[in-house]
């Protein structure tokens, strides 16, 4: 059953990926301006022959379907050609930045869930009481506040006024550990370097909280409503009637069931953490994929933009796959229904 489940889900993602790649490919051709001109924009005067030569080199003189097939074939192997703005292969630029973003996303993810799951469950236990009402207001703020605004407020308050936390960058450069995974906290741990770890964490806190806030708000609401539904079900009453202690009734039986529908929201929100971090990385001058994307767009660096967009799409698809898998682990009925 598991093999079928996983196989089928993987197969179902193929059309999504093809669709996204097509859109990414076409946007490059539909946007005004000639890529070659963009590429040569900074190169001064070039001859028409040189332009034609470049066109042929990048296969831009071929029919669109052929170009797409070529693009796809290369993309699959991770070859997006050279970045216009940096002159290095796009893959290289991205792999250099990816660990920073992964690290930040992971922190934001952990913070969001660590806050949202207990908060949502607690709110559901006593709906409309003080904790629930407080959580509702805070969640509403979390959802409606523009992310960068919270970032700026935190930055001014905790960084500039109180000087508790650094306001930009990933780590104090003097302390940077030798890069093994590229994630400073992990590398610092591997090197057993406490000072580097502290510096990396201090740099992570503000952007991570800023990113986690809207996700925590959404997930809290979702856990709350899902939990309220589950708590009203017979099996919860039956668990109590069997004499199970309340923490077990709520923490095991009710929560497990309440998390099943929540997993999807968590996946979507995590996707948004990954892809929606451009503004926040820019605000905190955090050298990750988001900031790279902003810079690439500003520089009309099409190959880089394409690669980043595809990366986002793939991670969305991957997250949704993971969500399905987790749901299937939590609930046997999901396993069967989707197998």
């Amino acid at each position: 059953m598991w093999v079928r489940f996983v196989g089928r889900r993987l197969w179902q993602t193929a059309p999504v990926l093809i669709g996204v790649s097509l859109i990414v490919f076409l946007t490059m051709h539909l946007t005004p301006g000639d890529p070659i001109e963009h590429m040569l924009g900074r190169a001064g005067s070039v001859t028409r022959a040189q332009i034609e030569e470049l066109r042929a080199h990048y296969a831009l003189d071929r029919p669109l379907p052929t170009q797409y097939a070529l693009f796809l074939g290369k993309a699959v192997t991770g070859d997006f050609g050279p970045s216009y703005s940096q002159g290095r292969p796009v893959v290289e630029v991205i792999t250099e930045r990816l660990p920073a973003t992964l690290e930040l996303t992971l922190f934001a993810f952990v913070i969001a869930l660590a806050v949202a799951i207990p908060a949502g469950a607690l709110a559901a236990l006593r709906p409309h009481r003080l904790f629930d009402r407080t959580a509702t207001v805070v969640a509403l703020l979390g959802v409606s506040m523009p992310g960068f605004w919270l970032g700026i407020v935190l930055m001014i308050l905790l960084g500039l006024r109180l000087h508790w936390l650094p306001i930009s960058g990933r780590i104090d450069w003097a302390l940077a550990p030798e890069s093994i995974t590229g994630m400073n906290t992990v590398d610092a741990l591997l090197a057993g370097d406490g000072a580097a770890l502290r510096s990396a964490l201090a740099h992570l806190i503000l952007p991570a909280i800023t990113m986690a806030a809207p996700m925590a708000a959404m997930v809290t609401r979702m856990v709350r409503s899902s939990m309220i539904g589950v708590l009203g079900q017979d099996f919860v009453q039956f668990a109590r009637a069997r004499g199970l202690p309340e923490w077990r009734v709520v923490g095991k039986h009710a929560l497990r069931n309440a998390l099943v529908p929540t997993v999807n929201i968590v996946a979507i929100q995590t996707g948004m953490l990954l892809s929606g971090n451009m503004v926040i990385e820019a605000v905190f001058q955090y050298p990750g994929i988001g900031k790279l994307a902003v810079d690439a767009i500003a520089a009309a660096d099409y190959p880089l933009v394409q690669a980043v967009v595809l990366l986002y799409a793939v991670s969305y698809v991957g997250l949704n796959l993971a969500a399905d898998g987790i749901q299937a682990v939590l609930d046997p009925r999901v396993r069967e229904a989707r197998a």
Binding site: D234, Q237, R240, R242, G243, L244, N257, R333
Partner: protein, 370 residues
């Protein structure tokens, strides 16, 4: 289907019993003037409005009445599991000599499962859909301190076996939705008896099952009752089940008990007009010539129940007095049947002799307006 005790481990589970002796003893459960209401935006729903009821060891007492009359609310009140916005507002639930309503939460939790167990109406929703039935049964045993680890697994298999689940050891790995309705209810019953309770409250245990399974499940409960000397509070609106399986019955209407007595009396000589009405709703097997008469109208709004007798708006025998004065539950003279059985020294016959009715037509022997 016969359900026999096949597993040795079960010998330790089964209690030695002298059912007939215990039937005459003190009640294991005595509910006194219990009140439970739900606070809604429309006002207080008085779901349980001062009911009194007792169950002796080895006895099956049925609680019958139309949908919405407060049967489940009464059952959940006894377990102290009324969901918000409901709350118990008064009365006592004396179980084995102690008032459950006076216990701390922790003390009450130790009563649940170990002393009083519950069987729910719909076995599909009563089991956690995401966990294997074996795990849920083992968890129950572990919580109740009955057994842990391997011993608990063995005990769980023995319990599934005892409730008539074939290939019990394999079924342990099944998820609830993989079992049929009847099997699921057997699992629920196995979980209910896991803690060797003295009293099982079965809230419409067969309503969600199809007819052929209903008798099987009731027979299983009856058998477990005999084997283990259980007391059963059986909530149902199926008078056929009441007639076949209960010793005594209490008829509930709009949060109150309106009639109570031995089942034989209730079925043969119902005194209360509502009880008579309920009986006329039951189709008679093989007697299509006997017409069915549904009770007209519907249960009253429990936020503002009618003044006087709550059944008056629907009662074919209502008198002017009925609309002004609430009748009290009064003891009625014994029927010829119980007199005869008494004289024959059969005073322990099913359900005893006492019957009470709440109706102006039956002023009764006075006093004892419980």
């Amino acid at each position: 289907m016969s359900v026999d005790v096949r597993h040795e481990a079960l010998q330790t589970v089964t209690k030695p019993l002298q059912v007939e002796e215990r039937r005459q003893g003190a009640p294991i459960l005595a509910v006194k003037k219990l009140r439970t209401c739900f606070d809604t935006y429309r006002g207080q729903v008085r779901a349980v409005d001062g009911i009194s009821l007792s169950v002796r060891p080895g006895e099956t007492v049925a609680l019958v009445g139309e949908s919405g009359c407060g049967k489940s609310a009464a059952a959940l009140s006894i377990m102290r599991l009324v969901p918000p916005p409901g709350r118990i507002t008064g009365g006592q639930v004396i179980f084995d000599g102690q008032d459950l309503l006076a216990l701390s939460r922790a003390e009450m939790r130790r009563i649940r499962g170990r002393r009083i167990a519950m069987v729910f109406q719909d076995p599909l929703t009563a089991l956690n859909p995401t966990l294997r039935v074996g795990a849920q049964l083992v968890e129950t045993l572990a919580t109740q301190g009955a057994a842990r680890g391997r011993a608990a697994r063995q005990r769980a298999v023995a319990l599934l076996d005892a409730v008539g689940i074939p290939a019990a050891a394999e079924r342990m790995r099944a998820y609830p939705h993989e079992l049929s309705g009847g099997m699921r209810q057997r699992v629920v019953i196995a979980m209910a008896i896991a803690g060797q309770p003295d009293l099982v409250i079965a809230d419409e245990p067969t309503t969600a099952l199809d007819v052929t399974l209903q008798a099987q499940i009731m027979e299983l409960l009856a058998k477990l009752k005999e084997e283990r000397g259980l007391a059963i509070l059986l909530i149902t609106h199926d008078l056929g089940i009441v007639a076949n399986f209960a010793d005594r019955a209490a008829v509930m209407y709009a949060g109150q008990i309106v009639a109570e007595g031995p089942v034989a009396d209730l079925v043969r000589e119902p005194l209360h007009p509502y009880a008579r009405g309920l009986l006329r709703c039951v189709p008679r097997l093989g007697r299509p010539d006997v017409p069915i008469h549904p009770i007209h109208g519907s249960v009253p709004d429990m936020v503002a129940p009618p003044a006087g007798c709550r059944f008056a708006p629907r009662c074919p025998e209502a008198m002017p007095q009925c609309r002004q004065e609430m009748p009290v539950l009064k003891r009625q003279p014994p029927t010829a049947r119980t007199i005869r059985q008494n004289s024959e020294g059969e005073s322990l016959a099913r359900g005893g002799t006492v019957r009470r009715v709440r109706c102006h037509l039956h002023p009764g022997e006075g006093g004892n307006g419980r």
